[in-house]
Every structure is written in structure tokens, then in C-alpha cells.
């Protein structure tokens, strides 16, 4: 595969043709904030935190879904980007009911960590306080829609790693929500294998192991990339 050369934050970088700006940046050791991105599954461009500026393009592009091009000039850390990232985070917090102090993921939450890293010290928007429920019908896991940011990581791991296809998205816009099978209680799902990959993939406290109390949900999403790599490289074939 041919290599392409581009410039990120003034640094000359080369990456494989077909790579995304995010992949090229990671390879060059340049950090771009991400939330919906998950190693091991394809990217969806859902969260808008990895937005970058590309010279000559008059809109902001998501680094996780934009392919590199020869001679591309990318900026990942400008004042405008920092402003938009904070705004995006504030909107995520305002949209549903995120109460860190009582959350199973407090201290281990990617959304909380990003808010802290990006200097989000308050939310300027009115909180929506929507009425969302908790689905605790599954014997082992729970889904709290109040804490869901619709990153779709759970959907992608369910379809493309486990292959069960249980999780999906229903509805439109801010009213979208994660469903199981045909929008039935999770515990009634016939396709769910109870593998728990969705729970490992969740960046917030939306998916959790039942019985977990505050700050007890610690996840290791690298296990998911490990499974995918081992499978694709046929490391399990003897």
C-alpha cells in the first residue's frame, strides 16, 4: 500500500493510503480527543470530538472518518477546535441526565475524563432533564438511557465483533435511543448472547453490570481490540 505524506500541526507525517487522519495522528504520536472511536470496530463519526481543521476545507472534519490525502495540512489543537470541543461536551451533558456523583462509572468515565481534560468547568446550556428509563430486565447487565451519549459503540461491537446484532438505534436526533432486538426489554431479547462486549465498550455509565454501585464500573476496552486482532490475524488458528 502506498504511503501518503501530510502535515499535522506543522509536523510532517506519513501514513498508509486509506488511513484516517486519526490513525495517522495516533501513529505520529499526536493526540486527538475521541469518544465514539473504539479500537477494533469501524468508526461512526458520532460524537464530533475529534473534529480537526483541514486547510482549504471550510468546515470542520471528523478525524476518525476522514481519509488522508497527499499534502493535506491538518490542525488538531486550535482555539476554535478547543472551543467547539468544550461546546460539544457541554451539549452532551445538557442533553441527558448525567449525575457523576451517583454514577457507576464515576472516576472511570471517558465522558467525565474528556470534560475535565478539555476544561469544561460548567455547562452554559439549560439542562434538558429528559425522562429516560433504566432497563434492568437482563439478568446480568443494565442499560440506563439517562447516561447514554449515543456513541453507538455498543451497537458496533454487538454487530461486528460478537455478531449477535442485538443492539440497535431507534428514533431520530436527540430522541434516538439504544434498543435491543425490536425495542423490547433487554432481558427478553432472543439474540443477545450475554457476552458483555457492549458493557465493556460503553464509555459512560449507560451500560453496566447489575449490582454495581457508585464508581465500581471499570472497563478494559482493549480486550475488544485484542479479540479482533487475534481473529483477523488468525492467532487462534492452530
Amino acid at each position: 500500500m502506498a504511503a501518503k505524506t501530510l502535515n499535522i500541526n506543522g509536523k510532517q507525517v506519513s501514513a498508509d493510503e486509506g488511513a484516517t487522519i486519526l490513525e495517522a495522528a495516533i501513529e505520529a504520536g499526536i493526540k486527538i480527543p475521541t469518544l465514539c472511536h473504539l479500537d477494533g470496530v469501524y468508526d461512526a463519526g458520532a460524537c464530533r470530538l475529534c473534529l480537526v481543521e483541514v486547510t482549504g476545507v471550510n468546515k470542520l472534519l471528523s478525524a476518525c472518518t476522514t481519509r488522508i490525502a497527499e499534502g493535506m495540512e491538518v490542525h488538531t489543537d486550535t482555539e476554535q477546535l478547543r472551543k467547539y470541543r468544550r461546546m460539544t461536551l457541554e451539549l452532551l451533558f445538557a442533553e441527558r441526565n448525567h449525575t457523576c456523583s451517583a454514577c457507576v462509572s464515576n472516576g472511570h468515565c471517558e465522558l467525565q475524563a474528556l470534560a475535565w481534560q478539555n476544561g469544561m468547568d460548567h455547562v452554559r446550556y439549560d439542562y434538558c432533564f429528559p425522562r429516560w428509563s433504566v432497563d434492568a430486565s437482563h439478568p446480568r447487565y443494565g442499560l440506563d438511557h439517562n447516561r447514554c451519549i449515543l456513541c453507538t459503540r455498543c451497537v458496533r461491537v454487538c454487530w461486528h465483533i460478537e455478531g449477535a446484532g442485538t443492539k440497535n438505534v431507534a428514533g431520530r436526533g436527540a430522541k434516538s435511543f439504544i434498543i435491543d432486538d425490536l425495542a423490547q426489554p433487554w432481558g427478553d431479547s432472543e439474540t443477545c448472547t450475554s457476552c458483555g462486549k457492549c458493557v465493556i465498550a460503553c464509555p459512560t455509565g449507560a451500560l453496566f453490570t447489575r449490582g454495581s454501585t457508585v464508581a465500581e464500573m471499570e472497563r478494559d476496552p482493549s480486550k475488544l481490540a485484542f479479540i479482533v486482532n487475534a481473529r483477523e490475524r488468525k492467532q487462534w488458528v492452530v
Binding site: S101, A102, A136, G211, S212, T213
Partner: protein, 474 residues
């Protein structure tokens, strides 16, 4: 036309409140009311949440005694799981509750109430507070602050932080105590004992100087409720309920706290967000009962530890039946600090506290769970019903300050009747009225499930509801 005096806000209590005093045409006090003016809504907005979150959510009701909610909520969770928690977890919860009693009682006595004893009822309002106490008697103030810190450090040694530790959970606790934690507690105990003893000496002197107040501040007949052990010893966690009347006779005994509804009913008053529980079979207003330190000492037969028992006997000698003056809440609080320190001294030597078996694991096995614990201010109930997946369908919280609502109203009325004549109320009288509330160490943030430290307002109301005078402090 009669008159109404309003004290708003009431100061040096936890939360927001006001007092209304009603006068007739002759300027005599006809009645007084204590109003809690904040509403918080925990019972409603917790609906739909998993019961396992409740210890941490309800702990946020209050930053002074979060441990009480944490423990009562975890116990309600134990009942929903229908498990017996590991013995070490129970011992650790009890140790944290003792730490909580010490820190909260130290706050009530030294920071909130001692300024009245030390600086006097007539001391200028601007200095009649903990800062005035620091200026007047720095050694005493420092000892009080350090005693509170000691209690807080026990909480931290167990839960990892002083306020809102996410530690007690349905089924047990999340961690034990380390050897360093034990050593730190052991090291500070002698100083804590010395402070408790000196506070008791200070109280005896204050009692001597305030004989009139002791007779007037909430001195009336009522029932008393709290937990006792199976043999009638003082209890703060895991015991059964006992009701005792003013004569000292046991009215109901060894009641499983889960059956509280058989004995306690709740009513609401138009003038307050604070619910009014009463002893069911006596109805309103005869079902008035008090909880908290005074009640716990009236219902038990002994403290169960030697130093506190010596002081307890002196306490009980003040009356033939129950000790009925709410002014003596302060004395009871100090005896409880002493007892708590003795129990802490015993507890930290228990090797079982370091075991790793601290948490039982189970799903939802009962659709209702009641958890009770003796909070510093009195008995706290958390009553949850859940659906089969463990999501809350209803929440009922009865907090100590609620139990004492009728008694606080009566106390305010009694003090007002004694001291108020006409609508010209001297500052020292206003302060005595407020102190009547402080005796109970109410936590209004808890009781209304209200935010903030409390200022107070007194309104003087004449017949026909005309407001004659309002005194506001902030």
C-alpha cells in the same frame, strides 16, 4: 388584634427554617410554629433508579450526616436482597456510625450550641458563633474542632473520604480497615476522651447557670423512641425499636424497624415541608414522641460501657421517670460521644475488621426493603419498594428531625410563652427561642430531603393573621 412574630431565618442549625409566634390582643403568646421552608423531593426523583444507587444518592441529602443515609439505605438494600451481610461488614458499618455520632455531636455541641453557653444569651449576635467561641476560649474551640475531625477521620479511614464515601452497599461494605487506619484512630483516642470529659464538665456548669432554661426549653411529656439491644442496652445500629413514655414505662418494645408503619403514621402540615410523624395508636397530637440522644438515653437501661455508664447514671437521676427537658439533649449528646469513643476503642482491636469477606452477593429477592439506623439526631428509616428488576417504585424516608417535628413546635411555643410578652422581643429572647430548636440539633436538609446552612426568621402574628413584626437573620 392579635399579633405574629416571625424569626426567619433560624441560625446555627443545619438547613433553612423560620418560626412564627402568635399573640392575642393582650400580647400573650397563643401558639408558635416551626416551619421548614425548603423542599428537596428525594422521595420522588429517586423513583425509577436501581436500589444499589440509593446509598450514594441519599447520602447527598446531607453533608453532615451522609453516613446515616448511607447505612440506612444499604440496610434497605440488604433487605431487598434478603441476605445476612458478612459479620465483619456489620462491625465495620457500626464503627463508621460511631465515628459519625462523634463528629456530628461534636459539631452540634461545640460549633452550634456552645456559643450560647459560653458567650451567653445576651452576647452580641455578630460574635455569638463558633468564631466568637474561638476568640473567647481558643483551647476549647480547638478541642471541639479536633474532636469532630477525629470522627471524620474514622469515616475516612473506612470509606476513603470524610464526606459521601461510596462505601456501604447493599450486601455489605466495599473495604475493611488498614493497620494504619487502626493505628491512627488508636493514637487520637486519648485526646478525644479528654475533650469529651471536659465538655461534660462544661455542660454541668452550663446547666447550673441555666436552671431556668432547662425547665422551659422543651420540658413536657412525650414518648421517646429509639433502638435498643435485646437486653435493653443503648444501641445505634441494627437494634430493635422501643417506645418509652415520660413516666419511664415501656410502651412498645423490641419492634423490628421493618414494622415501623404499625407504630408510626405520618401527617403533613400546611405551614411546613417537614412531615409530622406520630405514634399511631395515640393519634395527633397525643402521639408526640422524641428521638435522638435524649430519647435513646431515656429508652435504654444502660450504655454498656463503663465511663459513659457512670455519667448516664447521673443523667437518669435528674428525673424519676424519663428525662423530659429537651435542654438535656446536650447532656445526652455528650454522654453518647463518650460511649461512642469507648465502643470505638473496643472495636478497633477486633481482628475480624481486616477480613476480605465483606460483601454478600444476591439479586432482588424481596420487593420491599426497610433499613433503619440511629442517626446522630435520631432514628432514620429508608423504606423502598422495587420492581422485580430492582428499580425503585416508591421511596419513603423518615428522618430524625421529622420525628421531632411536633416536639420542636411544642418547644418553641413553650419558650415563647415563658419569655415573650408583647411584640417587643429582646435579642436574648429570640436567641433562646432559636436555641430551643438547636437542642434537637435538627438537620433540615435531611428532613425535607433543604440545602445550605441555616439562617432563621421569626414572625410575630396577631389574631386575624396580621404580621406584626419579622426578624430576619442571615
Amino acid at each position: 388584634m392579635g399579633k405574629r412574630i416571625v424569626i426567619d431565618p433560624v441560625t446555627r442549625i443545619e438547613g433553612h427554617a423560620k418560626i412564627s409566634i402568635f399573640l392575642d390582643d393582650a400580647g400573650h403568646v397563643t401558639d408558635a410554629e416551626f416551619h421548614v421552608v425548603e423542599f428537596r423531593g428525594f422521595e420522588k426523583f429517586c423513583e425509577g433508579r436501581p436500589y444499589g444507587e440509593m446509598p450514594s444518592i441519599t447520602a447527598r441529602i446531607c453533608g453532615i450526616c451522609p453516613v446515616s443515609h448511607l447505612l440506612a439505605s444499604a440496610r434497605a438494600g440488604d433487605a431487598i436482597m434478603a441476605v445476612a451481610i458478612p459479620p465483619a461488614a456489620d462491625k465495620l458499618r457500626r464503627l463508621m456510625n460511631l465515628g459519625q455520632i462523634v463528629q456530628s455531636h461534636a459539631l452540634s455541641f461545640f460549633h452550634l450550641s456552645a456559643p450560647d453557653f459560653i458567650l451567653g444569651w445576651n452576647a452580641p449576635q455578630a460574635t455569638r458563633n463558633v468564631f466568637g467561641l474561638i476568640a473567647a476560649d481558643p483551647t476549647l474551640a480547638r478541642a471541639g474542632i479536633r474532636l469532630r475531625q477525629f470522627g471524620q477521620e474514622i469515616i475516612e479511614a473506612l470509606g476513603g473520604r470524610k464526606i459521601h464515601p461510596a462505601w456501604a452497599v447493599p450486601g455489605g461494605v466495599r473495604s475493611g480497615i488498614t493497620d494504619q487506619g487502626r493505628a491512627r484512630i488508636r493514637e487520637r483516642l486519648p485526646e478525644a476522651f479528654a475533650t469529651a470529659e471536659s465538655a461534660l464538665r462544661l455542660f454541668w456548669k452550663a446547666l447550673d447557670e441555666n436552671r431556668e432554661e432547662a425547665l422551659i426549653f422543651g420540658n413536657f411529656s412525650s414518648l421517646f423512641m429509639g433502638m435498643v439491644t435485646a437486653d435493653g442496652t443503648w444501641e445505634h445500629h441494627g437494634g430493635n425499636l422501643r417506645f418509652v413514655d415520660s413516666a419511664g414505662s415501656v410502651v412498645a418494645d423490641q419492634i423490628d424497624p421493618a414494622r415501623y408503619r404499625d407504630y408510626i403514621a405520618e401527617s403533613v402540615q400546611e405551614a411546613s415541608y417537614l412531615k409530622t410523624p406520630y405514634f399511631k395508636s395515640l393519634g395527633l397530637p397525643n402521639g408526640i414522641y422524641r428521638v435522638g440522644p435524649l430519647a435513646r438515653l431515656n429508652i435504654c437501661e444502660r450504655m454498656g460501657v463503663p465511663r459513659a455508664d457512670a455519667e448516664y447514671r447521673a443523667f437518669r437521676q435528674m428525673s424519676r421517670g424519663s428525662v423530659t427537658s429537651s435542654f438535656l439533649y446536650h447532656h445526652a449528646r455528650l454522654i453518647e460521644i463518650l460511649a461512642a469513643l469507648e465502643y470505638i476503642e473496643r472495636a478497633i482491636e477486633d481482628p475480624e475488621l481486616s477480613t476480605k469477606h465483606l460483601r454478600a452477593d444476591a439479586g432482588v429477592n424481596a420487593l420491599r426493603g426497610v433499613g433503619a439506623s440511629e442517626a446522630p439526631r435520631g432514628t432514620l428509616f429508608h423504606d423502598y419498594t422495587v420492581d422485580p428488576s430492582g428499580l425503585l417504585k416508591s421511596v419513603n424516608l423518615i428522618v430524625a428531625t421529622g420525628h421531632n417535628n411536633l416536639a420542636m413546635n411544642r418547644t418553641v411555643a413553650q419558650i415563647a410563652r415563658h419569655y415573650v410578652q408583647g411584640d417587643d422581643i429582646p435579642e436574648a429572647v429570640l436567641n433562646r427561642i432559636e436555641h430551643g430548636i438547636r437542642c434537637y440539633d435538627p438537620c433540615l436538609s435531611c428532613s425535607t430531603h433543604a440545602a445550605g446552612m441555616m439562617p432563621m426568621k421569626v414572625t410575630l402574628v396577631g389574631p386575624g393573621g396580621r404580621i406584626l413584626r419579622e426578624v430576619t437573620r442571615g
